[in-house]
């Protein structure tokens, strides 16, 4: 009996952010952000460093709570929203165990045991091309292999939504390519991707949907083609042109 759901059913999506703000002390990191993210493959949150992308991702995933406003899931099983999501971080966090044990751990959290757990673990390792490294301590794998393992771990859980926070920012081009292929494969299996990146090239390669952040505010939310063809706002324009945009109003 498997308790891992089929991600093509909208158990939790769409995700609504309703005037969400997030403060740390006196600084406002996210400011009055409202948007709806629906099913549809790959949403990319784009912006310069410090725009608030990572914070927004964590607000969506529920790792932090907004200081104002609300984050709401509107799907059928939104009460169990946590179970239908997963997240991969810029630096993979793996347990001091073998690669296989890391996947098995995540599966056991979902109540999968025994033979089925072994099967799904092997399946996930194979999917990520890590079968040869199954018994190796996860910590001795290379950066790229560790990130693939982290991805395999989430794939084994078949989440409806997968959050990724700059997943290839620390990786070389070859590893980055492997990660992007894995992401494509996950999408094919029906998982919704919500990903942050500051890498324009990656955004162009992957995005169906762009959320552009600047200074904690949502500047534009558009389909990727539309956005890259001609962004509406000057901040977005500057970003695409590779220029730094500093708000003239705050310049003293």
């Amino acid at each position: 009996m498997t308790r891992i759901p089929d991600p093509t059913i909208n158990a939790v999506l769409p995700l609504e952010l309703d005037n969400v703000s997030y403060d740390v002390g006196a600084s406002r990191i996210i400011d009055g952000l409202s948007t709806v993210i629906g099913p549809g493959s790959r949403t990319i949150i784009l912006g310069a460093n410090g725009a608030g992308k990572s914070v927004m991702l964590r607000l969506c995933h529920g790792l932090i709570r907004p200081t104002a406003g609300a984050v709401r899931w509107h799907g059928a099983d939104s009460g169990q929203a946590q179970r239908h999501q997963a997240m991969v971080f810029q630096r993979p966090v793996l347990l001091r165990r073998s690669a296989a044990a890391n996947i098995a751990y995540a599966l056991s959290l979902r109540g999968v045991r025994g033979a089925e757990r072994r099967r799904r673990t092997a399946e996930a390792l194979e999917w990520a091309g890590l079968t040869a490294l199954a018994a190796r301590p996860a910590r001795v794998l290379s950066g790229g292999e560790q990130q693939r393992l982290a991805l395999a771990r989430t794939w084994a859980l078949r989440p409806e939504v997968l959050f990724l926070d700059e997943p290839s920012a620390s990786l070389d081009p070859a590893a980055t390519h492997a990660i992007e292929s894995a992401i494509a494969a996950i999408v094919t299996d029906g998982t919704k991707i919500i990903m942050t990146t500051h890498d324009l090239g990656q955004a162009r390669r992957l995005a169906d949907d762009i959320l552009f952040l600047h200074d904690g505010q949502l500047i534009e939310h558009a389909a990727a083609d539309t956005f890259f063809a001609g962004p509406q706002r000057p901040e977005a324009h500057a970003f695409l042109d590779g220029r730094l945009w500093i708000n003239p109003a705050t310049e003293n």
């Binding site: 964590r58 179970r83 999501q85 966090v93 347990l95 959290l109 979902r110 190796r136």
Partner: protein, 234 residues
């Protein structure tokens, strides 16, 4: 200087002669301190983890208390346990005074704060690295304690070894609750104390050298096991 040289000779002679009394004393020391530390780990590791991971009123005070109790004087612990286990005390009916069990209890009381305080720090540090990912996976704080204990096993092992070091080396607690009874509750440290009192300084120092060697052997064994395990499992 001559005394120290004599001491090494005495130690050598004792070891080589496979002195039966010595073997008995060493075995009892290992049994008492070993079991005490095992129990202290059983209590202290989850306790340290709970204090590290849960938020509750008085958490800061409890942390300070645990840290402070690392400095509990063994003789004071011995006295307290003695008063409790004495026939005139609340648990006198258990008839545990002057038995190895009383010694185990006293040493467990002594060592648990050490294990708890050190493991609290280790687990707290691990949690700062692991928190986001574990919470993302849906790990509850209770489950997280177990996961972090297993993941921090090498650092926590050192904490447990610190506790063992304390236990095997102390004399105040076991002397008072055990009574240093020949063949029943005499351990290395109380034997050393006795020989010192009798003026047999060379023998006392010799026993001391053996005790240090014992501690080094145990730590070497643990180190090797740890090393092998680390290479196999990371």
């Amino acid at each position: 200087m001559a005394d120290i040289y004599e001491a090494f000779l005495a130690a050598f002679r004792l070891i080589l002669s496979f002195d039966r009394d010595l073997a008995e004393i060493i075995l009892l020391s290992l049994k008492v301190s070993g079991i005490a530390v095992l129990l202290a780990a059983l209590i202290g590791l989850p306790l340290g983890g709970a204090v590290a991971l849960f938020r509750f009123p008085g958490r800061g005070a409890l942390t300070i208390l645990l840290n402070g109790l690392m400095g509990l004087p063994p003789v004071v612990v011995g006295l307290l346990v003695y008063l409790i286990l004495s026939r005139a005390g609340p648990l006198g009916v258990l008839n545990l005074l002057f038995t190895p069990t009383a010694m185990i209890i006293a040493q467990c009381v002594l060592v648990t704060p050490i294990v708890a305080a050190l493991s609290r720090q280790v687990i707290e540090d691990l949690w700062t690295d692991y928190e986001e990912q574990l919470r993302s996976l849906g790990v509850t704080p209770v489950r997280a304690i177990g996961t972090l204990i297993v993941d921090g096993r090498y650092s926590l092992l050192t904490a447990v070894l610190a506790g063992f070091g304390r236990a095997i080396a102390e004399v105040g607690a076991v002397m008072i609750v055990g009574g240093n009874i020949d063949h029943v509750t005499r351990v290395m440290t109380t034997a050393i104390s006795l020989e010192t009192m009798k003026g047999n300084l060379s023998i006392a120092l010799g026993l001391g050298i053996i005790l240090i060697l014992l501690s080094l052997s145990i730590n070497s064994a643990v180190y090797v096991i740890k090393d092998v395990s680390q290479r196999r499992l990371g």
